[in-house]
Amino acid sequence: MRVGLFIPCYIDAIYPEAGIATLELLERFGLEVVYPLNQTCCGQPMANEGDQQHSAAAEQLFVDNFREFDYIVGPAGSCVKHVKLHLDAIPQSPEVLHVRERTYELVEFLHDIVKAAAFPWAYFRYKVGLHNSCSSIRGLGIALPSETMGTPFNKTARLLQMVEGLELVPMDRPDECCGFGGTFCVTDEAVSASMGIDKVHDYMRHDAEFVVSPDMSCLMHQQGIARKAGIHLKFLHVAQVLNGGPF
């Protein structure tokens, strides 16, 4: 099984350790993982604005980079959601459809395809607030959305609970949006910041020491809010915890 490693642009520049953890973690399961060097961005920022014209070229480049792989795995729910559900600014050729169908967010890939049953190399003796992003929950189905009736499941929590020492704390609004929302955090800055500070307070009320998420972009926003407010919370991508670093 050949896996194409999709490292979103902001992880490349700001959170390389999340990318390194993702690569190492996949390799621990014996997968052949290749990082195509010409990748940039999946097109989501432009598509989110409704700008199909400018997202088309980025989408085509994404498909060119990843068309030859059995699976494409990325440590970012919202980017993967874009590829799977909204990469439609270019004609939907068989290879585009192949790429869209075979692109997975890291947690769902580990849970559904690799069927990871243990992370013996990892331990993490902290209280953790889990932030499953909206894209991961309602877009990719990584957990049962709280609005939907049925038997609850949470793939991220299931994986994290296999890590020795880790304690997940409950939250008042477990799947309330944190206000990142891609370009929303800039164009609707006041509302976005208000949502973010409420989210951070929710972790604080439950004594979380770390916030862990499959979506680093939400954490980038939450971390910025916490820092500005002088709140000492730490933020990690789920790959770093499952891989036991790098931190």
């Binding site: 490292i7 902001y10 490349d12 520049a13 700001i14 390389p16 990318g19 390194i20 290749v34 990082y35 195509p36 060097l37 010409n38 940039t40 961005c41 920022p45 432009m46 989110n48 604005e49 409704g50 700008d51 199909q52 014209q53 400018h54 997202s55 070229a57 480049l61 909206c134 309602r138 877009g139 959305p145 609005e147 939907t148 009736m149 609004r173 799947d175 309330e176 949006c177 206000g179 990142f180 929302g181 929303f184 955090c185 800039v186 164009t187 609707d188 800055e189 006041a190 509302v191 976005s192 910041a193 208000s194 949502m195 409420d198 980038m220 971390q223 910025g224 809010i225 820092r227 500005k228």
Partner: protein, 471 residues
Amino acid sequence: MGDDKKVDVAAHAAAFLAQDDVHEPMHDKNLWAARMKRDAAAREVPEWETLRELASQIKEHTLTHLYDYLLEFESNAIKRGAKVYWARDAAEHNQHVWNILQEKNISAVIKSKSMLQEECGMTAFLENRGITVTESDLGERIQQLDDQPPSHIVMPAIHKTAEDVAQLFARTIGTDPRNTDPHYLTEAMRDNARRRFLEAGAGMTGANFAIAETGSFVVCTNEGNADIGAAVPPVHIASIGIEKLLPKVKDLGIFIRLLSRSALGTLATQYTSHFSGPRKGGELHIILTDNGRSKRLGMPDFWTSLKCIRCGACMNTCPVYRRSGGLAYGATYSGPIGIILDPTFDESRYSELPYHSSLCGSCTAVCPVKINISDQILQWRKVMAAKKYLPVSRRLAFGAAGKIFEHPQLFRSAETMASGAIRFTPDFLLYNRVLNPWGRHRELPHFAGQTFREWYLQYRAKNNEHGEQRP
């Protein structure tokens, strides 16, 4: 309507947030509580998801056979003694109402909450012609006295505190400004309104559901105000949007079970009143109104928004709405459903609304009739972008980003420039509110010393046969 000025919803929302430390937290808390009550009520119904699916299918069926069901409704309503009128738009709707009132020489009406009448700007229209119009729903009456439109479909004054209402009532109906007790205030309004029920020549209602099979319609309220309004004055005028149709009485059970649970988390509204023809000695006038609905029905991406039963669940769950307040949307309909309805009335005026969403998708998941609200919001953005309604600055920014992402080498140098710029730019620039909205409430992320790609090239790329860069 009529005003072509674009609604700047982000600025309105920022103002709602900035006014004090009381209103926004209260608004958020009260509506989140409604969402929690909704969850508890839905959990009690094992077949909840099946009900949603059935409701969605019934609505889609009805909308795709609307012509036949409307004619069936009309003929059955007439058989029961109602007078039925057709209105293509707001102006025709208001004209029908005015004609009926004039013919009966009526100068005062009492009305219960109707979003359609709100859509038509009916109250202002009638008041300009000397008619006294009194809202009988408590929340709606509060908004009327404050000269504001409703800020929520189900809870029109939810953005106001008890103190706000005490001040307003003191100013308008002479209550004690220091007494904020809800019972006292409600009782004062009841005394004030009852007189108006007795004096009114006509009672106006909307309708939650209209049944083709029987020509009857259903009005759901929690205060019983629609019933007294329809029962006391001699004339009942009902404004019904053509999308309110259901084929048969037996369909109703599904919607009644969903409506109030989704809205407030109650099992049913306190009053679920069926109106089948005029009461003895009275008159019933039904105005079937289009006002843009058939145009929306013809929009392939947006027609399913007509399934909406106006429960307000999407507003209660929407984290953006909860923090903006409904008035920020500057439109008849606010919240997620407003974002997808309002542009069908005026694309230019409401072109910013689709951007007032984090696209979290909670609205779609909570909707009792399964409208893909979040997808339609994104779809509206595509319309706005294609028709160039976006501000020029934003178009240029995303155009430039698109170019950078198209070319790997450009992207690498942009990354290097951005990280360098952030390292060497003084704080006053980074946290300047005009130049950089990110920095006002958030610290900027720190760029890493080495990108992932650089790390990969250094430690891994020797084994990677796909490592060659494009020339």
